[in-house]
Symmetry: D2
Amino acid sequence: MPTEIKGLNEECGVFGIFDAANASQLTYYGLHTLQHRGQEGAGIVSTDGTELYQHRDRGLLAKVFADPAELKRLKGNAAIGHVRYGTSGHNSIANVQPFLFHFHDGAVALAHNGNLTNAVTLRRELENEGAVFQSDSDTEILIHLIRKYINEGFIPALKKSLNLVHGGFAYLLLQKDRLIAALDPNGIRPLCIGRLENGAYVVASETCALDIINAQFVRDVLPGELIVIDKDGLHIDHYTTQTQLAICSMEYIYFARPDSIIHGVTVHNARKRMGKLLAKEHPVDADMVIGVPNSSLSAASGYAEESCLPYEMGLIKSQYVARTFIQPTQELRELGVQMKLSAVRGVVKGKRVVVVDDSIVRGTTSKQIVQMLKRAGAKEVHMLISSPPFKFPCFYGIDVSTRSELMAAHYSIEEMRQLIGADSLNFLSINSLIKAINVPDAGDAPNGGLTVAYFDGKYPTPLYDYEEGYRKSLSEQEQLARKG
Amino acid sequence: MPTEIKGLNEECGVFGIFDAANASQLTYYGLHTLQHRGQEGAGIVSTDGTELYQHRDRGLLAKVFADPAELKRLKGNAAIGHVRYGTSGHNSIANVQPFLFHFHDGAVALAHNGNLTNAVTLRRELENEGAVFQSDSDTEILIHLIRKYINEGFIPALKKSLNLVHGGFAYLLLQKDRLIAALDPNGIRPLCIGRLENGAYVVASETCALDIINAQFVRDVLPGELIVIDKDGLHIDHYTTQTQLAICSMEYIYFARPDSIIHGVTVHNARKRMGKLLAKEHPVDADMVIGVPNSSLSAASGYAEESCLPYEMGLIKSQYVARTFIQPTQELRELGVQMKLSAVRGVVKGKRVVVVDDSIVRGTTSKQIVQMLKRAGAKEVHMLISSPPFKFPCFYGIDVSTRSELMAAHYSIEEMRQLIGADSLNFLSINSLIKAINVPDAGDAPNGGLTVAYFDGKYPTPLYDYEEGYRKSLSEQEQLARKG
Amino acid sequence: MPTEIKGLNEECGVFGIFDAANASQLTYYGLHTLQHRGQEGAGIVSTDGTELYQHRDRGLLAKVFADPAELKRLKGNAAIGHVRYGTSGHNSIANVQPFLFHFHDGAVALAHNGNLTNAVTLRRELENEGAVFQSDSDTEILIHLIRKYINEGFIPALKKSLNLVHGGFAYLLLQKDRLIAALDPNGIRPLCIGRLENGAYVVASETCALDIINAQFVRDVLPGELIVIDKDGLHIDHYTTQTQLAICSMEYIYFARPDSIIHGVTVHNARKRMGKLLAKEHPVDADMVIGVPNSSLSAASGYAEESCLPYEMGLIKSQYVARTFIQPTQELRELGVQMKLSAVRGVVKGKRVVVVDDSIVRGTTSKQIVQMLKRAGAKEVHMLISSPPFKFPCFYGIDVSTRSELMAAHYSIEEMRQLIGADSLNFLSINSLIKAINVPDAGDAPNGGLTVAYFDGKYPTPLYDYEEGYRKSLSEQEQLARKG
Amino acid sequence: MPTEIKGLNEECGVFGIFDAANASQLTYYGLHTLQHRGQEGAGIVSTDGTELYQHRDRGLLAKVFADPAELKRLKGNAAIGHVRYGTSGHNSIANVQPFLFHFHDGAVALAHNGNLTNAVTLRRELENEGAVFQSDSDTEILIHLIRKYINEGFIPALKKSLNLVHGGFAYLLLQKDRLIAALDPNGIRPLCIGRLENGAYVVASETCALDIINAQFVRDVLPGELIVIDKDGLHIDHYTTQTQLAICSMEYIYFARPDSIIHGVTVHNARKRMGKLLAKEHPVDADMVIGVPNSSLSAASGYAEESCLPYEMGLIKSQYVARTFIQPTQELRELGVQMKLSAVRGVVKGKRVVVVDDSIVRGTTSKQIVQMLKRAGAKEVHMLISSPPFKFPCFYGIDVSTRSELMAAHYSIEEMRQLIGADSLNFLSINSLIKAINVPDAGDAPNGGLTVAYFDGKYPTPLYDYEEGYRKSLSEQEQLARKG
């Protein structure tokens, strides 16, 4: 779960509801549980069957809807909502979703979790045909495509468009009389369907958003599906049958809330199993196991259980916003991480400590955690990572799209250990990761139905616009490796 | 740690530093770690040896100092800071500390953690002599007393005044050339001294505030002490020798950060021992142990360890501000707690669950936790409380000063169990609580140097202004008991 | 000048500058003098020759740029700015100009003063061809048209587009290497060119924006012209030669600042002459002349001079924002106007007063002025209006586009007098209005080069999308007249 | 009226009302008309007969009460309000009035317009007796004095206190059951009584505040009076009989609103007579007369009428907040004044212009006005000031308390003319000023019942704490004069 310490950010969460009183309020509660998927912007569009109403702004959900009048203004029995992560350079309000488009033949709202791999090409083609884009977001491409084919009717135009966009995507669309959901052909991003007691349908990125409004889980949206919810109920359709499950493994490792259930797997349980398998692969002679709060606590407790070492609270995380200032001295600069994490001296002093973390991105936080524990008196610090080395970028919606920032892309494990300052450093194997998650309905999909490209570089789809840059970075890497 | 779910609130944290560059920035970092002691206001007063500079406002520290210019304005090498909890009715900026008073013979700033038991009497006397109070806070009384005796000199006037105020108090005072700290004769509130590498002294409510700025712990401030820090260093003085240690046991049970060390005891370790002793006193035949995050996780892990039951993450706490609105329906109203806490269905479903919580105040949260777990499929829910029943109010700085709101003051344990809906309910004994904390330097002080009046009604000091109301509530209670 | 008391609102002011250091700051100052043309939003787009930078928001200029960092962020030597009036329903930030559009072949910013008469038709056509609009504003149409023809090159596409949009318009466009201005074929909205000492060119809605930055007036932009300013200087081009001057007479009567010079006529002088001719047409036996501040003071002084009556300050206008609240009683509700205007009792008591106002729109303010003066003791109140009765809506950029709200469209002058409660009521004739303004370069254009359609219903252009509604309202009016 | 261009600031306006529904709303409207007397802070205290409710903050009234809930919270049928001007250094919220003091024997609110001349001495004495002040304001002294003598009863203690404070003051006090007003023995600040139709009494700094709520003027409060308004009506009492009228002449010249009537004199009429007498004393051969808006327009029209020269609008004032930024260049820095004032080129070009201004403080604005008019083409600029040279500071509530900033204290009229760059410069004589104002109930008070010390240095009261500094500045001045 983000607002974590490392720089790994999901790109969004979505929520939609149809035919429920207080639709926008329920959407607010749903988005609250999805806040970990995006903290830089939030918005809701609702409809009362006649008009569509929008409110969106930069910042956390609670800030965006600080004035209760804003939520009250979003009338009607259907709504979609979005929480957004976005890169800082283009963090304008124009990029905050859901987008709302007005046409003389009816308004459409659009929310998107994921990332397209052919966005640059599509946008250039559309602009050459006269299109005027209002945002930097690749999300907007879908609506331009739909309008290009609108004469064929909305749903046919949408299906055609969904076959033209490539990459990872979970879309929600709202019109005055229906809610539409669509998932990419590999099901890279999670998306599930729930139902309220009164029969209203809900669609959300994670099941925790169903739980908060006491909706019953119905089923996951499957790759290539197009779900239409209107006054006649839920209609399951497909825009393509060329599908193969490849869920983003990072959802299980890091992003999703521990209480969410994705494709039948409770995230906390998957993480605990990662910790157990990690203990089997890399046992350590130590006095205790601690986890890096909050996302690594499940894996740490698994490691402790399997290794029969005591599970202790050796690091605590502040629950308050840490805000550092332009720092005059190096001394003050280092306080940044300490404002978020503290070592518990009375626990770790004089001990050999196993620290379980879920991943290493740039390595800077790991280094600070080791320093912090040693300063608090730890005799040995063993770093155990409950996922494989993160070597290859993600092009499907995680904010790591160049290799240059990935520590594991540049260093061997031993080099990483030295840089971090740990007494030992080990990672979970790809096989154990797949075994720990164990998606029940994966069938014979490769890698147990998971995308593990971040660890082995084998992407489940072509990379399109990213292909060239990626190949270039790989060859630079090889040259670097040869030199090194 | 507060912003917890139950309505139990500390009244403040203090931090002071003398002779350090960036004094106000270091104070900001120190206050950040003390934020759990008060979230309704924050402030800092600094001095450059000539003038005193103040900034304070309502809200969290990060909001109060959102504009970095405010911190930069607080020039100088010495500062004191304060985070405040306050009852809603009088949450005006005039009550946010540190207070800053300007006199023609020099300015004084004042910050206070605690509560006076003779404030009403003292204020009435002072007003009858012409005093004009600017706040509702009992903190202001000290400065009026000092000024009453100012002709005797500042320190003598302060000592005389400290002998006139009664109750629990940890005061910090700042003048242009010195920092002063004083603790009540029972040491009810924690206060410790630390030192930076460059020799600068620090005084803070908890040791976690020393850790963040890499200050070494020097010693706790002892009951009755008056500490003066000036350009010649640290001077330890007393305003009284009639002292006896009676630290607030609630600091260990609930308030303090787990990484803080109070009178030699690491809070996390004390809590873990409470959990272990609880398991010895009240073993349960169950499948797992879970804690109510975040303050009860230490005790839960102790219970699990002692009982050899698996320690699981069955409840998770949202790390985002939960903001509910005026609710149109009962359905929506219940979402309030669910926005803060969620049960992990995939963990508790079909299981017999031990839930460890640190205390029961009104009982409303406990009831909702039981409901939440049962709705997520738990077969049995056993509530184990790692402290004795909270029956008597606190007059020394916790925001519970009437018995009417305390569930345990009105019901038997069995009645409480039924109201909460748990399958069983048990509490830690007072003896085990004292044994779990085990203050090493308590000597022969009663109750191992702890205040346990919240559980047995035996207060370590006279109650003064509260005496009459308290007796009355007790006798009403007895009458109620006789009727019942 | 608006923020006046009556509900008559201009729709925008524009300012552009090319090749000047601090371009965005100079634009800020220019917009400050144009603030009377729009108070609901403001924005600036600048360019440093490489990128375009935008800041815009709802509210007054000083609020939008309250944080000086925003202006500093708008780097470069060229900029365009806009102040906006907009109807409340669609006052979203998406409608605040200048708009900024990013294309793979370069960004374009756009600002617009005026109103298109064929916007609905054009938008529908464009949407049917796949266009996605981001705002409700008719301004956006131009960029969609340009992109439709972009393969012919930017300037040819722009010229073609300017021939497709109809109505009143003054456009500014900014690209990374040039500033472009275009005026409609009737020159309905004012637009002038100035030059700084260092040679930088400036384009602005009114000359007051040149004065504040000490730019020399060069010439007015003429109907049908396309002005391109780039590193090689100023280029004057045409997109059409089918032009005929028909400046909006309301600019002289009410909108423009008195110190602005439009087509050679100083606005204050024109107004003073309106007052003089009004005195000739409608002399009154009275004790003094007073004007309704601020827009009618020029005309009032002209009336006083011509009639040899003393010119007095009988009404004063508060210079502070008047903010009324939801009013519990009728008594409080009437305070609204009194917060903006006050009668000077010591001046008008016992006197026969001529009140000169520039126009009557709905009549409500006129009624309150008469009441206010009578309550202050005026013996007689004679209302003299320095323009003809406002009977027909404006489709070129004034916020009155239906007849229903125009008092003079529904009542005779005598009926209006009774409703207002004045002792007499008279208006300036159309002929005198034309004579008072007396545009020197009008040539043989009808009505002396002015649009006086608001008074005689004879519009200088076809009405396109408004035609049908206008005809309908006229015939309803006639039926009403027949009944009445 | 301030927010004028020159740096001359009043120190506050007060308003009180007793026994009227919506008391705080009526106070809001009253304060709106007094906003010109103070723009740096505003506040209201109301009472419902039981408790007192306060809201106050820095900034303009409309900003302070931007949230309508704040006004609604101020319940009850009685209220007092205050608008404040304050020097920047101490512009903390603690200094914003009305002050509200809570005592065990009842709360008191206090608002003050004026300045005490013995504040430093009184405060030092009180502090030596134990008093703790909460603000830097001299206003707070009164409440400390009252509390010192409170055992004698509130009204006797108040009367004794009013005899101990010296200088210029108009106080309003509010208790839960009465409203009290008191004026200094010279009546330096204006204060008047009005009555609503329903019988409720109103007290306000100026009559314009009565007009807006349709209250009838009853009478001015007279020097030395103590007015008590309670459920039995209005009681007129005295705290001293040693009185002599000496109203601040600056109220008539500059501060008060033109529609206010002070001691029987309409401010606009007084100003117009100043202009007429100025024309008699200093006729000029010119083409037109213009005034510096807004405060000098009345005097300018008087000058024009007397001299039979046309009265023109040669300068216009922007009605929008001018906000300048930290300026990179001298060129931009000069824009500051131009954002507030503009010359009307089409009016003054080629003309000999008489500019009437009400006063010269530092002379910087006068210089810029002359430059602006000459740049706009004026052939000659004759500066005529409708008051005598401002040579001596004010100690009674105008923000000019040192001579160093007064241009006329350092230069001869001819030197001033040269510095300003005018073709001629002349001032009204003290005698004509007194004649122009002509207070009817002045009796045989010196200077026609006016304080004209700013012009002749003869103060109507001893200067107490200011005496020494003033004498020193005078002698430095003389030495300077001898050298020069």
